[in-house]
């Protein structure tokens, strides 16, 4: 007897893992067809300049080089890549062309595509291209961009892109507030570095006039729409295929210049062409993220209750506005208030263009940054007002009784979101208990064997489940088993497992009877929206429930017809047999053998889901080297309903690790001429397992989302939000005798050392 609803909530091992662990994953780089040519991209060696000429003759003379494509080969009008999220007309002048033609604006911008017999020969071709660029001054800093002395986009007349504003109430409260504090914070440029770089394999079938491209990820349906427009093919002439994907995290899978250049070249040459991004170009060509400089001012009463928040920040978006390049700025404006009651707010976040790699979303876009600022400020305010650091958070957290709680409005692309459900004190309490907050309180600021110990705490909310909708198809196979198709995409998060659990429970069958969960590729369902904004489980899972309900109706109707009774009188037992009045029955496999039993369902989202939680850490700071050891780290997140505690815990732990990388290690550095100085993994430092061995994640599921039938809330990002804030707070607590206040990331050893040096020289310092 099958136990209904036994799968959702169980720690089921990932069905994907067997093939990955056995080396049987199939990534785009693993695809090898006969007669495939290989491409390499010639990228601008100069950050800013007028593109005078490209001489490809020497490259074409190399044996094995088939073609070199430049802007001149694309026709009179060079296509521009449109925005996927928040496409405001004001942002259009900043879009990126699929290949540079009049100007180059960052080191790494594609200028030409070389197609050759092998990737090595294609690289030889790249080396042989001669380009003439009349250099222009590189705009590398905020003051340079804001001065407008050198413009990236002459016609626009400014390097400043529109700004976002989060607002509610009246910030004139600052005139009368008994206490205010203003601080300035910065976050350094860094980004996600998926283990698998990008890759594409494009094939043109001249006879069918049909394009197939492997290597799609994250948002294949949307990218097909863009490609269809840019390349002049109907959508049904294009198939985008999602293979296994070695990590998404935001940047992977968005539409980049190569997503046009590869299929264009394949169609032009009538050949299969493969391009696998190498790590050097990955670090200079895929979206960067996070770089911002923000001033935050908070007004409180003397009990630490927030009366208002205001300020202005600037996000450096690099050289162009990419598909989702505005999300970081927008989210800083929205998430600066976090899980707290902020009755009056006016927070503006502008964007500037500079001669650096363009930015896009990276796990927790804008939230990692905003949470760093806000949680650091809460600790500073608590100290000023003599209030306990936990207590000031308790006094300001939105309570269960206040929900749904309307957050500040966001404009442009207006949104009014509400914190939907939950009890924020529960995750805070659990987090404090897990870290041993009370027992370890005496360690704050204490020196033990030359290292100073400190604890940190921070709270967050995570929005997830972005709409507008998602699609799923469920098919009853002739074997009596079921197959699931979804528009959500897999980027390594384990959706084959999670969707099989959801479908299995809904169909009342064991997972072994879900014989496949197919996702991502544009052929499975009529439309799909993909993997971003912690939405796959929430949206795809809900669409599966709809499809299952419809499939059951279809089965009952068909069984009723066969059993000569009404559909209402049919009962489906164990997903195997349809039973009518009087015990007459028919096997579902038998039904499927004669009738096509497959149906598409969808889910349309009204509101976002709001998961929430808290992070805590215990660190030890070596005041001589500036090294911070993370002795313990815990994040607790209530995700509404936990579909699979194993994968959910993995999401939290992985997020924390990425956050620690962004807090301590990862930094894209440029010189004043716009050359990227950290173009390999030797200089762009990722966290490794031995750097942060003690990281724990605890998912909770006490408050299911009222916004979707699964009850799930997006949980893919909450592990990263608070990392910089809680580490900054712990470092400040450790070094409180020096009055060190981290305000700028990354907290590298030299940076901590410089802060200590400055504190020692400051006359106000007790040391």
């Amino acid at each position: 007897m099958t136990v209904a609803n036994a799968l959702v909530g169980s720690p089921i091992e990932r069905v994907e893992d067997l093939r990955f662990l056995r080396g049987r994953g199939q990534y785009v780089g693993d695809l090898n067809f006969d007669d495939t040519l290989h491409a390499a991209v010639f990228r601008s060696p100069v950050a800013h300049g007028k593109l005078i000429s490209v001489d490809k003759s020497a490259a074409l003379a190399i044996p094995g080089v088939h073609a070199v494509f430049t802007a001149a080969d694309l026709g009179d009008v060079i296509p521009y890549i449109p925005m996927r999220l928040h496409p405001l007309p004001e942002l259009e002048p900043f879009w990126q062309p699929v290949v540079a033609y009049d100007k180059v604006r960052y080191v790494g911008e594609p200028i030409a595509l070389v197609v050759a017999d092998s990737a090595a020969i294609a690289e030889d071709g790249v080396d042989a291209i001669e380009v003439e660029i009349e250099p222009l001054p590189a705009v590398m800093t905020k003051p340079q961009a804001e001065s407008g002395e050198t413009l990236l986009f002459d016609k626009k007349g400014t390097n400043e892109v529109l700004g976002y504003r989060g607002y509610r109430g009246d910030v004139s409260i600052f005139d009368t507030a008994p206490y205010t504090r203003k601080e300035r914070f910065t976050v350094q440029r860094h980004t996600a570095v998926p283990m698998e770089p990008r890759g594409l394999l494009a094939e043109w079938d001249a006879e069918r006039q049909h394009l197939t491209m492997w290597g799609a990820a994250k948002v294949p349906f949307f990218n097909r729409r863009i490609l269809s427009r840019l390349i002049g093919l109907a959508e049904d002439q294009i198939l985008l295929v999602e293979n296994d994907v070695g990590g998404g995290f935001g940047p992977r899978g968005e539409f980049y210049p190569e997503d046009f250049l590869l299929p264009f070249a394949a169609r032009h040459l009538n050949k299969r062409i493969k391009w696998i991004e190498d790590r050097r170009e990955n670090l200079m060509a895929m979206n960067h993220a996070r770089e911002c400089d923000c001033e935050v001012e908070i007004a409180c009463d003397l009990k630490g209750r927030i009366l208002g928040l205001r300020g202005r920040g600037v996000v450096d978006i690099g050289a162009y506005m990419r598909t989702n390049g505005a999300v970081g700025a927008r989210n800083i404006a929205q998430f600066i208030s976090g899980p707290y009651r902020v009755p009056n707010m006016n927070y503006e976040v502008g964007m500037i263009v500079t001669n650096k790699t363009p930015v896009g979303t990276y796990r927790g876009p804008g939230r990692f940054e905003a949470d760093f600022f806000r949680e650091r400020m809460l600790d500073m305010i608590a100290e000023d007002l003599g209030i306990d650091r936990v207590e000031i958070r308790r006094r300001n957290l939105v309570t269960h009784a206040e929900m749904p709680y309307r957050m500040a409005s966001i404009t442009p692309f207006d949104a009014d979101d509400e914190l939907d459900s939950g009890d924020y004190s529960e995750t805070l309490d659990r987090c404090l208990a897990e870290i041993g907050w009370d027992e370890k309180a005496a360690l704050n600021g204490k020196e033990i064997d030359g290292r100073y110990h400190g604890l940190g705490i921070a709270c967050f909310v995570e929005a997830g489940g972005a709409g507008p909708k998602e699609f799923a198809r469920v098919t009853l196979e002739k074997t009596g088993d079921y197959t699931v198709y979804v528009g959500s995409a897999a980027v390594g998060q384990g959706i084959e497992t999670v969707f099989a659990q959801i479908a299995g429970d809904a169909l009342e069958v064991p997972m072994s009877r879900i014989t496949g969960v197919h996702h991502g590729s544009t052929r499975n369902v009529s439309d799909g929206f993909g993997a971003y904004h912690s939405r796959s489980t929430v949206m795809g899972g809900s669409a599966i429930l709809d499809a299952v309900a419809k499939l059951k109706d279809m089965i009952r109707a068909e069984a009723g017809r066969r059993l000569n009774c009404s559909a209402d009188a049919v009962e489906i037992v164990e997903g195997t047999t349809a039973i009518g009045p009087g015990g007459r029955s028919i096997a579902l496999a038998e039904l499927a053998a004669e009738t096509d039993l497959s149906v598409e369902g969808s889910f349309i989202n009204k509101r976002l889901s709001w998961a929430y939680g808290a992070h805590a850490t215990h660190v030890a700071v070596d005041a001589e080297t500036g090294h911070v050891e993370v002795l313990d780290y815990i994040a607790v997140e209530d995700v509404g309903r936990i579909i699979n505690p194993l994968t959910m815990t993995g999401q939290i732990v992985g997020s924390i690790m990425q956050g620690l990388g962004g807090t301590f290690l990862e930094h894209f550095k440029y010189d004043e001429n716009g050359q990227l100085l950290t173009g390999s993994l030797a200089d762009y430092m990722l966290p490794t397992a031995s750097d942060f061995p003690k990281v724990r994640g605890i998912p909770m599921g006490n408050h299911p989302s009222p916004m979707n039938p699964v009850g799930a809330k997006g949980g893919g990002e909450g592990g990263i939000f608070s990392v910089a804030g809680v580490i900054g707070n712990a470092v400040a607590a450790a070094l409180k005798s020096f009055n060190v206040q981290p305000r700028d990331l990354p907290l590298s050893p030299p940076q901590i050392w410089e802060l200590l040096q400055a504190a020692r020289q400051s006359p106000s310092s007790p040391q």
């Binding site: 090595a120 080297t625 430092m685 050893p749």
Partner: protein, 286 residues
């Protein structure tokens, strides 16, 4: 990051290797463990016309220990050093330093000869060689010559090796059993190149005074160097007290000449060098 085209040779004798080097007009590169050369070729920073693979050359992978010290063939890998039990007493400082080299996979392939030919200022092997007065034997068309480690390392990625020469052997002078030593380095992550590191040892003379102090630092200048000013403070002392350690830390910071680079300021590295020497000294005396 695909290699440019090149010719490949895999000679089986030193004579053949030397003759290949000589006939290449300086366009050939020797391939030992490939842990520096291969990435440089993949980045197309190095494009040799000929790569001469050393893996079949006889005798270069031997570790020999006798009264004259420790002799390491140029093809001895880091994992060979870590796996040789004899070295834990024959040269504990070398073993301690090599434990900090990169990662498991790299230690399985990387060689001491490759490391010193590459001459990274932050690398451990050159640091140990300079600190310990090692001698480097090189072979060329005109025969063998022996170069003192201090003369061998000239600048980042620059050595005294002449075109057509190859490293065959390293000799570290014999290690007295009673010698005290310390090794410390600080890197951003486990296995990264050191931001600063210190290797040191001290002996006692007949009357118990500190003698023969050798103090070397890596990662804080254009090559590994010894610090004679610090050694002078130690030599002749009866004991090392806190005031002396503080003086040594200060003298170290004042003696080194690090640069600003993308990872840190020179001031930070200067201070870090002092900290590393201090900690190495404390561990030597512990």
């Amino acid at each position: 990051m695909k290699l440019p085209a090149f010719d490949y040779a895999c000679p089986t004798t030193l004579a053949e290797t030397i003759s290949l080097l000589a006939s290449s007009n300086g366009e050939a590169r020797l391939l030992a463990g490939g842990q520096s050369l291969m990435p440089m070729m993949a980045f197309r920073i190095a494009s040799p016309s000929l790569v001469i693979d050393m893996r079949k050359l006889p005798g270069l992978n031997r570790i020999e220990i006798d009264a004259n010290g420790v002799r390491l063939g140029a093809m001895v890998r880091y994992c060979d050093i870590l796996g040789d039990e004899r070295l834990r007493t024959a040269h504990p400082l070398l073993v301690a330093a090599i434990e900090h080299v990169a990662h498991y996979q790299i230690r399985n392939r990387g060689t001491v000869g490759g490391s010193i030919a590459h001459a990274d200022p932050a690398a451990e092997t050159p640091g140990i060689l300079v600190t310990c007065d090692a001698e480097i034997t090189v072979l060329g068309e005109s025969g063998t010559r022996v170069i003192a480690a201090d003369d061998f390392f000239i600048a980042p990625l620059t050595t005294a090796l002449e075109p057509g020469e190859m490293i065959t052997q390293i000799r570290l002078p014999a290690w007295p059993a009673a010698r005290r030593w310390g090794f410390q380095e600080f890197s951003r992550r486990r296995g990264d190149f050191a931001m600063a590191g210190a290797a040191l040892f001290l002996d006692r003379d007949d009357v118990g005074l500190i003698a023969n102090a050798h103090v070397g630092v890596i990662g804080v200048g254009d090559r590994a160097i010894r610090l004679p000013q610090v050694e002078a403070i130690l030599n002749g002392a009866t004991a090392v007290n806190d005031a002396m350690i503080a003086e040594i830390e200060k003298t170290t910071a004042a003696s080194v000449e690090p640069f600003d680079d993308i990872h840190s300021s020179a001031a930070y590295r200067r201070s870090l060098a002092g900290t590393m020497v201090k900690r190495a000294l404390k561990s030597a005396l512990a």
